[in-house]
Protein backbone atom coordinates (compact mmCIF):
# COMPACT_ATOMS: atom_id res chain seq x y z
CA UNK A 1 0.00 0.00 0.00
CA UNK A 2 1.39 3.35 -0.93
CA UNK A 3 -0.29 6.32 0.65
CA UNK A 4 2.00 9.32 0.57
CA UNK A 5 1.09 11.92 3.16
CA UNK A 6 -0.27 15.06 1.53
CA UNK A 7 1.88 18.14 1.14
CA UNK A 8 1.17 21.22 3.29
CA UNK A 9 2.40 24.77 2.92
CA UNK A 10 3.59 26.33 6.16
CA UNK A 11 3.20 29.98 7.19
CA UNK A 12 4.84 31.35 10.31
CA UNK A 13 4.39 34.64 12.09
CA UNK A 14 7.64 35.73 13.69
CA UNK A 15 8.25 37.48 16.97
CA UNK A 16 7.58 41.00 15.80
CA UNK A 17 3.92 41.01 14.88
CA UNK A 18 4.45 40.88 11.13
CA UNK A 19 2.19 38.94 8.77
CA UNK A 20 2.43 35.19 8.53
CA UNK A 21 5.09 34.41 5.95
CA UNK A 22 5.45 31.34 3.76
CA UNK A 23 8.47 29.40 5.04
CA UNK A 24 8.26 26.09 3.20
CA UNK A 25 6.32 22.88 3.03
CA UNK A 26 6.15 19.44 4.61
CA UNK A 27 4.19 16.21 4.59
CA UNK A 28 1.63 15.24 7.21
CA UNK A 29 -1.44 13.00 7.38
CA UNK A 30 -3.70 15.64 8.97
CA UNK A 31 -3.84 19.35 9.76
CA UNK A 32 -3.17 18.64 13.42
CA UNK A 33 0.01 16.73 12.62
CA UNK A 34 1.00 19.28 9.99
CA UNK A 35 1.02 21.95 12.70
CA UNK A 36 3.05 19.76 15.03
CA UNK A 37 5.48 18.90 12.26
CA UNK A 38 5.74 22.57 11.30
CA UNK A 39 6.60 23.42 14.88
CA UNK A 40 9.37 20.83 14.87
CA UNK A 41 10.69 21.52 11.37
CA UNK A 42 10.34 25.27 10.96
CA UNK A 43 10.65 26.79 14.43
CA UNK A 44 13.78 25.03 15.71
CA UNK A 45 15.53 28.37 16.05
CA UNK A 46 12.83 30.29 17.82
CA UNK A 47 11.45 31.64 14.55
CA UNK A 48 7.77 31.86 15.32
CA UNK A 49 4.83 32.56 17.56
CA UNK A 50 2.03 31.37 15.28
CA UNK A 51 1.68 28.70 12.60
CA UNK A 52 -0.74 28.33 9.70
CA UNK A 53 -0.82 25.27 7.49
CA UNK A 54 -2.81 24.75 4.32
CA UNK A 55 -2.99 21.80 1.95
CA UNK A 56 -0.84 22.65 -1.08
CA UNK A 57 -3.60 21.36 -3.35
CA UNK A 58 -6.01 23.92 -1.89
CA UNK A 59 -3.95 26.91 -2.96
CA UNK A 60 -5.22 28.72 -6.02
CA UNK A 61 -2.45 30.62 -7.78
CA UNK A 62 -2.29 33.17 -10.55
CA UNK A 63 -0.99 31.85 -13.87
CA UNK A 64 2.44 33.07 -14.98
CA UNK A 65 0.99 33.89 -18.42
CA UNK A 66 -1.29 36.44 -16.75
CA UNK A 67 1.66 38.30 -15.30
CA UNK A 68 1.33 41.10 -17.85
CA UNK A 69 -2.42 41.76 -17.52
CA UNK A 70 -2.38 41.25 -13.76
CA UNK A 71 0.52 43.36 -12.71
CA UNK A 72 1.68 45.73 -15.42
CA UNK A 73 -1.39 48.02 -15.40
CA UNK A 74 -0.51 49.16 -11.88
CA UNK A 75 2.77 50.52 -13.25
CA UNK A 76 0.82 53.28 -14.91
CA UNK A 77 -0.96 54.43 -11.76
CA UNK A 78 1.90 56.63 -10.66
CA UNK A 79 -0.45 58.93 -8.75
CA UNK A 80 -0.80 56.23 -6.08
CA UNK A 81 2.72 56.98 -4.90
CA UNK A 82 3.49 59.96 -2.68
CA UNK A 83 6.41 61.07 -4.85
CA UNK A 84 3.95 61.90 -7.66
CA UNK A 85 2.92 65.11 -5.92
CA UNK A 86 5.10 68.18 -5.78
CA UNK A 87 4.53 69.95 -2.50
CA UNK A 88 6.65 73.05 -1.81
CA UNK A 89 9.28 72.64 0.90
CA UNK A 90 7.76 75.59 2.77
CA UNK A 91 4.73 73.45 3.64
CA UNK A 92 6.93 71.34 5.89
CA UNK A 93 6.81 67.61 6.44
CA UNK A 94 3.81 65.85 4.95
Amino acid sequence: MSSEWPLWEVFIRGQHGLNHRHVGSLHAPSAEMAIQNARDVYTRRNEGVSIWVVRSNDIAASAPSDKGPLFEPSNAKVYRHPTFFDIPDDVGHM
Binding site: M1, E4, W5, S25, L26, P29, S30, V41, P64
Partner: protein, 327 residues
Protein backbone atom coordinates in the same frame (compact mmCIF):
# COMPACT_ATOMS: atom_id res chain seq x y z
CA UNK B 1 29.73 18.18 -4.25
CA UNK B 2 26.52 17.05 -2.60
CA UNK B 3 25.36 16.81 -6.19
CA UNK B 4 28.23 15.23 -8.09
CA UNK B 5 28.43 14.62 -11.81
CA UNK B 6 24.85 15.52 -12.57
CA UNK B 7 24.12 14.75 -16.20
CA UNK B 8 22.40 17.72 -17.72
CA UNK B 9 20.01 17.58 -20.63
CA UNK B 10 19.72 20.20 -23.29
CA UNK B 11 22.82 21.95 -24.44
CA UNK B 12 21.54 23.58 -27.59
CA UNK B 13 23.26 26.41 -29.37
CA UNK B 14 21.25 29.61 -29.43
CA UNK B 15 20.34 29.33 -33.10
CA UNK B 16 18.95 25.81 -32.55
CA UNK B 17 16.65 27.00 -29.77
CA UNK B 18 12.92 27.44 -30.16
CA UNK B 19 11.63 30.96 -29.48
CA UNK B 20 10.40 29.76 -26.07
CA UNK B 21 13.79 28.34 -25.18
CA UNK B 22 15.47 31.54 -26.30
CA UNK B 23 13.12 33.66 -24.17
CA UNK B 24 13.78 31.32 -21.23
CA UNK B 25 17.54 31.64 -21.60
CA UNK B 26 17.17 35.42 -21.84
CA UNK B 27 15.31 35.50 -18.53
CA UNK B 28 18.10 33.54 -16.88
CA UNK B 29 20.73 35.80 -18.44
CA UNK B 30 18.91 38.82 -17.05
CA UNK B 31 19.16 37.24 -13.59
CA UNK B 32 15.45 36.53 -13.28
CA UNK B 33 14.26 33.68 -11.08
CA UNK B 34 12.32 30.82 -12.64
CA UNK B 35 9.27 29.83 -10.60
CA UNK B 36 7.39 26.48 -10.52
CA UNK B 37 4.55 27.38 -12.87
CA UNK B 38 6.74 29.19 -15.38
CA UNK B 39 7.46 27.58 -18.71
CA UNK B 40 10.78 25.75 -18.67
CA UNK B 41 12.58 23.40 -21.05
CA UNK B 42 12.09 19.77 -20.16
CA UNK B 43 15.87 19.37 -19.88
CA UNK B 44 16.06 22.12 -17.28
CA UNK B 45 13.32 20.47 -15.24
CA UNK B 46 14.86 17.01 -15.44
CA UNK B 47 18.36 18.22 -14.65
CA UNK B 48 17.10 20.13 -11.64
CA UNK B 49 15.17 17.14 -10.30
CA UNK B 50 18.33 15.08 -10.60
CA UNK B 51 20.50 17.71 -8.94
CA UNK B 52 18.15 18.75 -6.12
CA UNK B 53 17.18 15.12 -5.52
CA UNK B 54 20.81 14.09 -5.24
CA UNK B 55 21.46 16.98 -2.93
CA UNK B 56 18.48 16.00 -0.73
CA UNK B 57 19.54 12.34 -0.66
CA UNK B 58 23.02 13.44 0.43
CA UNK B 59 21.62 15.35 3.39
CA UNK B 60 19.56 12.38 4.50
CA UNK B 61 22.24 9.71 4.01
CA UNK B 62 24.67 12.21 5.52
CA UNK B 63 22.86 11.84 8.82
CA UNK B 64 24.23 8.32 9.18
CA UNK B 65 28.00 8.70 9.57
CA UNK B 66 27.58 11.43 12.16
CA UNK B 67 24.52 9.89 13.78
CA UNK B 68 26.81 6.95 14.39
CA UNK B 69 28.47 8.95 17.21
CA UNK B 70 25.48 10.64 18.86
CA UNK B 71 25.16 7.82 21.38
CA UNK B 72 28.91 7.93 22.06
CA UNK B 73 29.45 11.70 22.24
CA UNK B 74 31.81 12.37 25.14
CA UNK B 75 29.94 15.12 27.03
CA UNK B 76 26.32 16.16 27.44
CA UNK B 77 26.99 19.39 25.56
CA UNK B 78 28.76 17.68 22.65
CA UNK B 79 25.89 15.21 22.47
CA UNK B 80 23.32 17.98 22.21
CA UNK B 81 25.32 19.92 19.62
CA UNK B 82 25.83 16.86 17.44
CA UNK B 83 22.21 15.82 17.72
CA UNK B 84 21.06 19.32 16.77
CA UNK B 85 23.44 19.29 13.85
CA UNK B 86 22.39 15.92 12.49
CA UNK B 87 18.77 16.99 12.98
CA UNK B 88 19.51 20.02 10.80
CA UNK B 89 20.68 17.65 8.03
CA UNK B 90 17.28 15.97 8.11
CA UNK B 91 15.70 19.41 7.88
CA UNK B 92 17.88 20.31 4.92
CA UNK B 93 16.90 17.10 3.18
CA UNK B 94 13.28 18.03 3.80
CA UNK B 95 13.68 21.57 2.39
CA UNK B 96 15.38 20.20 -0.71
CA UNK B 97 12.81 17.48 -1.33
CA UNK B 98 10.17 20.21 -1.04
CA UNK B 99 11.98 22.25 -3.70
CA UNK B 100 12.14 19.19 -5.96
CA UNK B 101 8.44 18.55 -5.40
CA UNK B 102 7.59 21.87 -7.05
CA UNK B 103 8.97 20.33 -10.26
CA UNK B 104 6.33 17.62 -10.33
CA UNK B 105 8.04 14.72 -8.60
CA UNK B 106 7.00 13.50 -5.14
CA UNK B 107 9.29 12.86 -2.20
CA UNK B 108 8.26 9.20 -2.15
CA UNK B 109 9.17 8.85 -5.83
CA UNK B 110 12.59 10.37 -5.19
CA UNK B 111 13.09 8.14 -2.16
CA UNK B 112 12.08 5.13 -4.24
CA UNK B 113 14.73 5.99 -6.80
CA UNK B 114 17.40 6.37 -4.12
CA UNK B 115 16.53 3.05 -2.54
CA UNK B 116 16.46 1.32 -5.91
CA UNK B 117 19.96 2.66 -6.62
CA UNK B 118 18.70 4.80 -9.50
CA UNK B 119 19.73 8.07 -7.89
CA UNK B 120 22.97 8.85 -6.15
CA UNK B 121 24.13 10.72 -3.08
CA UNK B 122 27.51 12.28 -2.37
CA UNK B 123 30.45 9.89 -2.34
CA UNK B 124 31.71 11.32 0.95
CA UNK B 125 29.06 9.62 3.06
CA UNK B 126 30.35 6.22 2.08
CA UNK B 127 33.39 6.72 4.29
CA UNK B 128 33.25 5.53 7.90
CA UNK B 129 33.48 7.64 11.06
CA UNK B 130 35.87 5.58 13.16
CA UNK B 131 36.75 7.89 16.02
CA UNK B 132 35.30 10.96 17.72
CA UNK B 133 37.84 13.08 15.84
CA UNK B 134 36.13 12.00 12.63
CA UNK B 135 33.08 13.93 13.80
CA UNK B 136 35.33 16.97 14.03
CA UNK B 137 36.80 16.29 10.59
CA UNK B 138 33.39 15.82 9.00
CA UNK B 139 32.15 19.14 10.35
CA UNK B 140 35.31 20.99 9.47
CA UNK B 141 36.11 19.49 6.05
CA UNK B 142 32.88 18.00 4.71
CA UNK B 143 30.63 20.83 5.83
CA UNK B 144 33.34 23.27 4.82
CA UNK B 145 33.36 21.83 1.31
CA UNK B 146 29.57 21.75 1.18
CA UNK B 147 29.25 25.39 2.23
CA UNK B 148 31.68 26.36 -0.50
CA UNK B 149 29.23 24.98 -3.04
CA UNK B 150 26.01 26.02 -1.33
CA UNK B 151 26.75 29.69 -0.82
CA UNK B 152 26.82 30.47 -4.56
CA UNK B 153 23.76 28.26 -5.10
CA UNK B 154 21.72 30.81 -3.15
CA UNK B 155 21.80 32.70 -6.47
CA UNK B 156 20.73 29.74 -8.60
CA UNK B 157 18.07 30.41 -11.23
CA UNK B 158 15.32 28.19 -9.85
CA UNK B 159 13.42 30.09 -7.14
CA UNK B 160 12.45 27.26 -4.77
CA UNK B 161 15.99 25.81 -4.92
CA UNK B 162 17.57 29.20 -4.25
CA UNK B 163 15.24 29.85 -1.31
CA UNK B 164 15.99 26.41 0.17
CA UNK B 165 19.70 27.16 -0.12
CA UNK B 166 19.27 30.50 1.68
CA UNK B 167 17.65 28.73 4.60
CA UNK B 168 20.22 25.93 4.56
CA UNK B 169 23.20 28.29 4.46
CA UNK B 170 21.81 30.24 7.39
CA UNK B 171 21.45 27.08 9.44
CA UNK B 172 24.73 25.56 8.33
CA UNK B 173 26.79 28.41 9.63
CA UNK B 174 27.29 26.66 12.96
CA UNK B 175 28.06 23.24 11.50
CA UNK B 176 31.56 23.86 10.28
CA UNK B 177 32.42 25.74 13.46
CA UNK B 178 31.29 22.88 15.68
CA UNK B 179 33.54 20.53 13.70
CA UNK B 180 36.51 22.84 13.97
CA UNK B 181 35.85 23.30 17.68
CA UNK B 182 36.12 19.51 18.16
CA UNK B 183 39.34 19.50 16.12
CA UNK B 184 40.81 22.30 18.25
CA UNK B 185 40.03 20.45 21.46
CA UNK B 186 41.46 17.21 20.11
CA UNK B 187 44.57 18.80 18.61
CA UNK B 188 45.35 20.48 21.91
CA UNK B 189 44.43 17.46 24.01
CA UNK B 190 46.31 14.36 25.11
CA UNK B 191 48.75 12.65 22.72
CA UNK B 192 46.02 10.07 21.99
CA UNK B 193 43.58 12.81 21.05
CA UNK B 194 46.07 14.61 18.84
CA UNK B 195 46.86 11.34 17.08
CA UNK B 196 43.15 10.80 16.49
CA UNK B 197 42.83 14.30 15.04
CA UNK B 198 45.72 13.76 12.63
CA UNK B 199 44.39 10.36 11.64
CA UNK B 200 40.96 11.84 10.93
CA UNK B 201 42.50 14.52 8.70
CA UNK B 202 44.56 11.86 6.92
CA UNK B 203 41.48 9.80 6.12
CA UNK B 204 39.09 12.63 5.24
CA UNK B 205 41.39 14.90 3.22
CA UNK B 206 41.21 13.20 -0.17
CA UNK B 207 37.56 12.11 0.10
CA UNK B 208 36.78 15.79 0.84
CA UNK B 209 38.61 16.88 -2.31
CA UNK B 210 36.58 14.29 -4.24
CA UNK B 211 33.36 15.92 -3.08
CA UNK B 212 33.76 18.59 -5.73
CA UNK B 213 33.80 15.95 -8.45
CA UNK B 214 36.39 15.40 -11.18
CA UNK B 215 37.62 18.30 -13.27
CA UNK B 216 34.74 19.54 -15.40
CA UNK B 217 36.33 22.33 -17.33
CA UNK B 218 35.67 20.42 -20.56
CA UNK B 219 32.32 18.92 -19.56
CA UNK B 220 29.31 19.74 -21.76
CA UNK B 221 26.97 18.90 -18.88
CA UNK B 222 28.61 21.46 -16.66
CA UNK B 223 28.55 24.06 -19.42
CA UNK B 224 24.80 23.62 -19.87
CA UNK B 225 24.18 23.70 -16.09
CA UNK B 226 26.24 26.86 -15.84
CA UNK B 227 24.30 28.47 -18.69
CA UNK B 228 21.12 27.67 -16.77
CA UNK B 229 22.70 28.97 -13.55
CA UNK B 230 22.02 25.80 -11.65
CA UNK B 231 25.75 25.38 -11.32
CA UNK B 232 27.68 28.51 -10.53
CA UNK B 233 31.37 27.54 -10.38
CA UNK B 234 33.50 24.81 -11.93
CA UNK B 235 34.56 21.91 -9.74
CA UNK B 236 38.20 22.96 -9.98
CA UNK B 237 37.48 26.53 -8.89
CA UNK B 238 35.68 25.33 -5.79
CA UNK B 239 38.31 22.71 -4.98
CA UNK B 240 41.06 25.30 -5.23
CA UNK B 241 39.16 27.65 -2.98
CA UNK B 242 38.60 24.87 -0.47
CA UNK B 243 42.29 23.94 -0.34
CA UNK B 244 43.35 27.56 0.03
CA UNK B 245 40.90 28.07 2.86
CA UNK B 246 41.73 24.84 4.67
CA UNK B 247 45.52 24.89 4.64
CA UNK B 248 45.92 27.73 7.17
CA UNK B 249 43.17 26.20 9.34
CA UNK B 250 45.11 22.93 9.50
CA UNK B 251 48.30 24.83 10.29
CA UNK B 252 46.55 26.59 13.17
CA UNK B 253 45.59 23.18 14.56
CA UNK B 254 49.19 22.00 14.24
CA UNK B 255 48.04 19.21 11.95
CA UNK B 256 49.62 18.18 8.69
CA UNK B 257 47.69 17.84 5.46
CA UNK B 258 48.62 14.43 4.03
CA UNK B 259 49.95 15.74 0.74
CA UNK B 260 53.71 15.99 0.16
CA UNK B 261 52.97 17.87 -3.05
CA UNK B 262 51.20 20.70 -1.26
CA UNK B 263 52.95 24.03 -1.85
CA UNK B 264 52.07 27.69 -2.19
CA UNK B 265 52.21 28.87 -5.78
CA UNK B 266 52.92 32.57 -5.78
CA UNK B 267 52.19 32.94 -9.46
CA UNK B 268 48.64 31.61 -9.33
CA UNK B 269 48.04 32.99 -5.85
CA UNK B 270 46.92 29.61 -4.57
CA UNK B 271 48.20 26.24 -3.47
CA UNK B 272 49.39 23.47 -5.71
CA UNK B 273 48.10 20.17 -4.42
CA UNK B 274 47.83 16.51 -5.38
CA UNK B 275 44.67 15.16 -6.96
CA UNK B 276 42.79 12.44 -5.14
CA UNK B 277 42.74 8.94 -6.57
CA UNK B 278 39.92 9.30 -9.06
CA UNK B 279 39.68 5.57 -9.65
CA UNK B 280 38.68 5.26 -6.00
CA UNK B 281 36.05 7.95 -6.53
CA UNK B 282 34.48 6.04 -9.42
CA UNK B 283 34.48 2.83 -7.41
CA UNK B 284 32.69 4.57 -4.53
CA UNK B 285 30.13 6.03 -6.96
CA UNK B 286 29.56 2.56 -8.37
CA UNK B 287 28.66 1.35 -4.89
CA UNK B 288 31.95 -0.21 -3.87
CA UNK B 289 33.04 2.26 -1.21
CA UNK B 290 33.73 1.30 2.40
CA UNK B 291 30.17 1.96 3.62
CA UNK B 292 27.90 2.03 0.55
CA UNK B 293 26.15 -1.19 1.51
CA UNK B 294 25.63 -0.16 5.14
CA UNK B 295 24.27 3.28 4.22
CA UNK B 296 21.75 1.89 1.76
CA UNK B 297 20.73 -0.87 4.15
CA UNK B 298 20.07 1.67 6.88
CA UNK B 299 17.90 3.81 4.60
CA UNK B 300 15.99 0.83 3.21
CA UNK B 301 15.38 -0.46 6.72
CA UNK B 302 14.12 2.92 7.94
CA UNK B 303 11.79 3.12 4.96
CA UNK B 304 10.44 -0.42 5.20
CA UNK B 305 10.13 -0.47 8.98
CA UNK B 306 8.39 2.88 8.84
CA UNK B 307 5.76 1.83 6.33
CA UNK B 308 3.20 0.72 8.92
CA UNK B 309 3.63 4.03 10.77
CA UNK B 310 3.04 6.14 7.67
CA UNK B 311 0.07 3.98 6.68
CA UNK B 312 -1.38 3.87 10.19
CA UNK B 313 -1.36 7.62 10.67
CA UNK B 314 -2.78 8.19 7.20
CA UNK B 315 -5.57 5.69 7.81
CA UNK B 316 -6.44 7.43 11.07
CA UNK B 317 -6.51 10.85 9.41
CA UNK B 318 -8.83 9.49 6.71
CA UNK B 319 -11.17 7.98 9.32
CA UNK B 320 -11.29 11.31 11.13
CA UNK B 321 -11.96 13.23 7.92
CA UNK B 322 -14.74 10.82 6.97
CA UNK B 323 -16.34 11.10 10.41
CA UNK B 324 -16.09 14.86 10.19
CA UNK B 325 -17.71 14.91 6.74
CA UNK B 326 -20.56 12.70 7.98
CA UNK B 327 -21.40 15.11 10.81
Amino acid sequence: MYAQMVTSEGGKARDEMTPEERAFQDRIDRGERIEPKDWMPEGYRKTLIRQIGQHAHSEVVGQLPEGNWITRAPTLERKQILLAKVQDEAGHGLYLYSAAETLGVSRDELTGMLLAGKMKYSSIFNYPTLTWADIGAVGWLVDGAAIMNQVPLQRTSYGPYARAMVRICKEESFHQRQGYSIMMTMARGTPDQKAMAQDALNRFWYPSLMMFGPSDKDSVHSAQSMAWKIKINTNDELRQKFVDQTVPQARFLGLEIPDPGLAWNEEKGGHDFSQPDWSEFYEVLKGNGPCNAERMEARIEAWEDGAWVREGLMAHAEKRAAAHAAE
